[in-house]
């Protein structure tokens, strides 16, 4: 009884968000009088209406949140800066895409192929993460970052030229199992990605609060000292980069399923830089920061990109100058919230507590 109360007191915020997100498609549907299942045409549903539109936005937010949380595990909690994180993200999409599209796998049930794709992504991203780590984690800071960038760019260039996935055009996924196809049954994909998002959040929180997580933080704070007190820091850094790679791959699968394609852009360094910015804006080394950073920036992007603002005689197409606007937002956020939105809030609260 007591422990339940304690749990509620510590986690009420997360539980509230959880409930809202579970009900979200139906809430939006109810508020806008649209069906969360889409519009029925003949014997199948067509994804029209506010509810399905918002589902797509949130699915993308879940995918980005998983990606950014994994980046934060490495960068925010362990202090390892990688510029190659998009590689894992894109690989997840390509692995599932190739399994679904390549004719040699056509004999296998599509749902099974999806499942194999998930397992393969976890294994391959883990092995690559481990390999990159072994080859280069002895390098520190910027040298490691450059090495990861080089490897990721190699993979990006490879898939840009790979004939079987249509090179730069990318692979369109048409053989999607109907039950998770975002253009037929988006609600299912919404709940699947939501479950993945929740599990990732819980996993990373438990990991960081465990004895292993304590060592991660020690490495971030002072790697030499962590070694001096007896930690084999390389092993822990390998662990962090491997786990982060796995989750980034899973995020990539959600992204590819929602986009119904696997394209070279998914491997592009843009996703790494976005992860880095979203982590910093949300709050480096916090649990909710990456989620707030990624969802916030994605929503801004999504809502503002198509707007055209007219001030007097000048017309500004926000989509054209989006990167400029993003830059401004970044500068402002960093000035107002030097530790990210969540990090600054936590410090402010801790400061108030100490005074009272």
């Amino acid at each position: 009884m007591q422990s339940w109360r304690q749990f509620l007191k510590e986690n009420w915020f997360f539980l509230a968000v959880f409930v809202v997100l579970v009900l979200f498609p139906h809430l939006v549907g109810w508020l806008t009088e649209s069906s969360p299942f889409g519009v029925l045409r003949g014997d199948r549903y067509i994804m029209r209406g506010e509810s399905t539109l918002w589902q797509a936005i949130l699915i993308e937010s879940f995918a980005l949140s998983v990606l950014v949380m994994s980046y934060n595990l490495m960068f925010g909690f362990t202090g390892v800066i990688s510029f190659g994180h998009a590689m894992f993200f894109g690989l997840g999409g390509y692995i599932v895409g190739m399994l679904l599209e390549f004719p040699e796998f056509a004999g296998i049930d599509p749902a099974l192929r999806l499942f194999i794709g998930l397992l393969l992504t976890i294994v391959i991203c883990g092995v690559i993460g481990l390999g990159i780590g072994f080859a280069s984690l002895r390098l520190r800071g910027v040298y490691f970052a450059i090495f990861t960038l080089a490897v990721a760019e190699m993979v990006w260039i490879y898939f840009s030229r790979f004939d079987r996935t249509n090179g730069e055009d990318g692979l369109t996924i048409s053989q999607m199992p109907a039950w998770i196809d975002p253009s037929q049954n988006r609600l299912a994909l919404y709940y699947v990605s939501f479950v993945i998002f929740v599990l990732t959040f819980i996993f990373i929180r438990r990991l960081v609060n465990s004895p292993t997580g304590a060592v991660f933080k020690a490495i971030r704070e002072n790697e030499d000292r962590a070694q001096a007190i007896g930690y084999h820091t390389l092993r822990f850094k390998l662990m962090a980069i491997t786990i982060a790679g796995m989750f980034a791959g899973i995020a990539g699968i959600i992204h590819a399923i929602l986009q119904k394609s696997a394209r070279p852009e998914f491997l592009n360094v843009k996703f790494t830089v976005d992860s880095l910015l979203m982590t910093i804006i949300g709050g480096v080394g916090t649990f909710t920061g990456p989620v707030i950073g990624s969802t916030g920036l994605y929503l801004l992007d999504n809502q503002l990109r198509d707007q055209v603002v007219t001030i007097g005689s000048t017309t500004i197409d926000i989509g054209d100058s989006w990167n400029l606007i993003l830059g401004f937002i970044f500068v402002i956020v960093v000035l107002i919230f030097p530790y990210g939105v969540v990090g600054t809030y936590q410090r402010w609260r801790a400061g108030r507590k100490n005074k009272s």
Partner: protein, 259 residues
Amino acid sequence: MPAILETRNLRKEFGGLVAVADVSLTIERGAMHSIIGPNGAGKTTFFNLLSGKYAPTQGTVFYNGNDITHVPFHQRAHLGIGRSFQITNIFPNLTVLENIRLAAQALSSVNFRFWRSVTAYPEFTRRALEVVELVGLRDAAHYPASVLPHGGKRKLELGILLAPNPEVLLLDEPTAGMASEQVPELIATIDTIRKEGGRTIVMVEHNMSVVMGISDRITVMNLGSLLAEGTPAEIAANETVQRVYLGELYGSADELVHK
């Protein structure tokens, strides 16, 4: 008394520079052994060889009679050798207690248990609280280490070192940068630590009065090699030492003051 640490012809070169030149030194179990010498004498390099931060160019290091020359840095902590740093070297954004708890956990087997909370292992927190008490930081236990004053950070440094209960403590200038009125307190703490566990302490120090007061043995280094070794009284009476080290340091300063 048997030797706990021993070096034989230990040598370290950086390019053409010989930082430590064939040093053979025996440190006895339970001793308070200080290493002094002017700047650039090779004290810190010698220390880095003992703790495994650097690999020697030549020579051997023995610990309890076993050759540990090629045992890596982090492994030596597991053998029972802890070292502190001349430059304050803590985990700044973690609390004082967490700093010490991490050190207490380091030599256990729970480091890869990533599914349970740290609170599931109260033994490390208990040890951390003990150590916090011992080094006199109890009131600051829940503050981030970065807000401690310099003297407090030096104490924390000792606490981190002490948490895993090492046999040998290597202290690299524990009083470096401290205000002189804080030094006696820290020295008292070091003395407590030593008596508490019957530990061996090897200390590099610049501050002469500190060394003379509490050491059992003193080794004087100059230009990478051993100049003299003996009890504090012997060192104080040694003419070469007076000329090379004490003379240089204090004599010249005296002359400046009196002229």
